[in-house]
């Protein structure tokens, strides 16, 4: 197998060379602890503050509103638990959506056990949250709305600006998990009335193991980590200086030309979607047709199962992902695909392709060459397809 095409950028990205080069000195000669007063310590401190400024520029906020974490998951946990426990006297109700990442969903489920009430807003067939249903769900006990900016599986981008407006009108904190959106969608936390925002470096060509939480000045939030005075006493733990430097550089590069990056990815995505739907029968596109991440295509191929599809694509050098139960080790397929109304058997046969910077039209050509025969081959093995061909089962 010679050809290797990476089409799973929503899972993670490689670290860009420019990002890596900026990080390297902070592993070796510039190894100082940012809390130390001597020069290499001050140098680390300065590097962290430079990175913080870059993140602030990307989100249009103040540097002091940015706090570095070890992951997007930590940022989500901190935002949700931190607001919940700090505002318990005001109310115990949280609103989120049914299609959040597990970092949000499982945090909310944990809070339910701690006495909080959580509304999981349903989504429509495209994965879109309804503003009306959001309005209806708000009570005088609601302290937090947490809705993801863009969905990791189906790519649907939520009406964040409108949600922010509603939250502001009602005086409710608004957190958004923007892990998939940063670098793909222009974000202005003031324009969108976002109070808290989670991000993760390895989704935009930065390193793994570092993320950040934006916290608007004045938001009442408990600390998540107890310990030293790092991050102005809000997030203890010796800073991951090389990681933070990498995050800063990566977000600077990722937000420099979002429109250019978008239009390139959108062209690849739209051609892939159009031709897959034309070439392969019994196939549907999951997610919103236009309001979706520029690099995201998510299909369901009826009568086949996602893991076997991924294995066969892997044998052809294509790395992609699926919402199939078999790739998660559970019996249920993706909660996102079920939430948009797919029956279990169709949700099992999903394929997510997420394009990135290094992908080309030739990569799309190659997918269009190898994917249809693989789907056909698996269908030939499937008793469900046999029934359809014999006309036993209506589709």
């Amino acid at each position: 197998m010679d050809k290797q095409i990476y089409l799973d950028h929503s899972a993670t990205t490689y670290v860009k060379e420019e990002v890596l080069q900026e990080m390297i000195p902070y592993f070796t000669e510039k190894f100082g602890n940012a809390s130390s007063i001597y020069s290499i310590g001050r140098e680390s401190k300065k590097a962290i503050e430079d990175a913080r400024e870059k993140v602030a520029r990307a989100l249009h906020c103040q540097p002091k509103e940015i706090f570095f974490t070890a992951s997007g998951t930590e940022a989500d946990n901190w935002a949700i638990k931190g607001v919940a426990f700090a505002n318990r006297n005001k109310g115990n109700h949280i609103i989120t959506s049914a299609i959040e990442h597990h970092a949000v969903l499982h945090t909310c489920q944990y809070l339910e056990k701690e006495g909080f009430e959580v509304t999981y807003l349903p989504v429509d067939e495209y994965g879109m949250v309804s503003l009306e249903k959001l309005q209806e769900a708000i009570t005088d006990k609601t302290i937090l709305i947490s809705i993801m900016f863009a969905n990791n599986e189906i790519g649907t981008i939520q009406p964040i600006k409108e949600i922010g407006r509603i939250a502001k009108e009602k005086g409710i904190y608004f957190h958004t998990d923007a892990v998939q959106a940063v670098g793909n969608v222009p974000i202005d936390v003031d324009e969108y009335n976002i109070d808290m925002l989670s991000l993760s470096a390895h989704k935009f060509y930065g390193p793994k193991g570092v993320g950040a939480l934006y916290v608007r000045k004045g938001v009442k939030l408990h600390n998540f980590m107890q310990g030293g005075a790092q991050e102005r006493g809000r997030r203890a733990g010796t800073e991951n200086v090389p990681g933070i430097v990498g995050l800063g550089k990566a977000i600077e590069l990722a937000t420099r030309d979002i429109e250019g990056y978008n239009s390139k990815l959108r062209a690849l995505r739209d051609r892939l979607i159009k031709e897959v739907l034309e070439k392969i029968p019994y196939t549907r596109l999951n997610g919103h047709p236009t309001q979706r991440l520029p690099g995201n295509a998510n299909f369901s191929f009826e009568f086949i199962e996602g893991e076997s599809l991924l294995l066969m694509l892997d044998m052809k050098g294509i790395a992609a992902s699926s919402g199939s139960a078999c790739t998660s080790g559970s019996l249920d397929p993706s909660h996102v695909l079920l939430a948009i109304g797919l029956p279990h058997e169709i949700a099992h046969g999903s394929l997510r392709i997420t394009f990135g910077e290094e992908n080309t039209e030739e990569d799309v050509d190659y997918v269009l060459e190898v994917l249809p025969p693989i789907v056909e081959r698996l269908r030939e093995m499937s008793p469900l397809y046999e029934e359809v061909k014999r006309g036993v089962k209506n589709v």
Partner: protein
């Protein structure tokens, strides 16, 4: 995560298809659970002379189907009934723990096809139906 043997049986599955005028046909699993295995047996004088399958499922489900059809061929019906999910998994040099239920499905498919053969010949099966169509009946996790 899969052994070479699993990948071989997945990429080059043996005995895919159906047998016309099969003596026993068994289908287990449920599309809801993400896997269905349909097994066809040709049985002469109590011996399985041919076996074919169609499977909707993951890599392990397809590989275990392929291996199960290979294993039953040439065996008597009584011998085939003694094939355990463990034996199918072992013949594939093992399966990841989360995939052991797939080998369960193979054992159940063999039983369901033989049950069908018994019924067609008016023989007493004795027990209840093999597959209840409930995910949990096949998806018994094994350590």
């Amino acid at each position: 995560m899969y052994s070479e043997k699993v990948m071989d049986h997945f990429m080059n599955p043996r005995n895919v298809g159906e047998i016309e005028n099969a003596d026993g046909v068994g289908q287990v699993g449920n599309p809801k659970c993400g896997d269905i295995m349909k097994m066809y047996l040709k049985i002469e004088n109590g011996t399985i002379v041919d076996a074919k399958f169609r499977t909707f499922g993951c890599g392990a489900a397809i590989a275990t189907s392929s291996m199960a059809t290979e294993m039953v061929k040439g065996k008597t019906v009584d011998e085939a009934l003694k094939i355990t999910n463990k034996a199918v998994a072992e013949a594939l040099d093992g399966l990841p723990p989360v995939k052991m239920h797939c080998s369960n499905l193979a054992e159940e498919a063999i039983k369901a096809a033989i049950q069908d053969y018994y019924k067609r010949h008016g023989m007493d099966w004795g027990e209840g139906d093999v597959c209840t169509g409930c995910c949990d009946s096949c998806h018994v996790e094994e350590e």
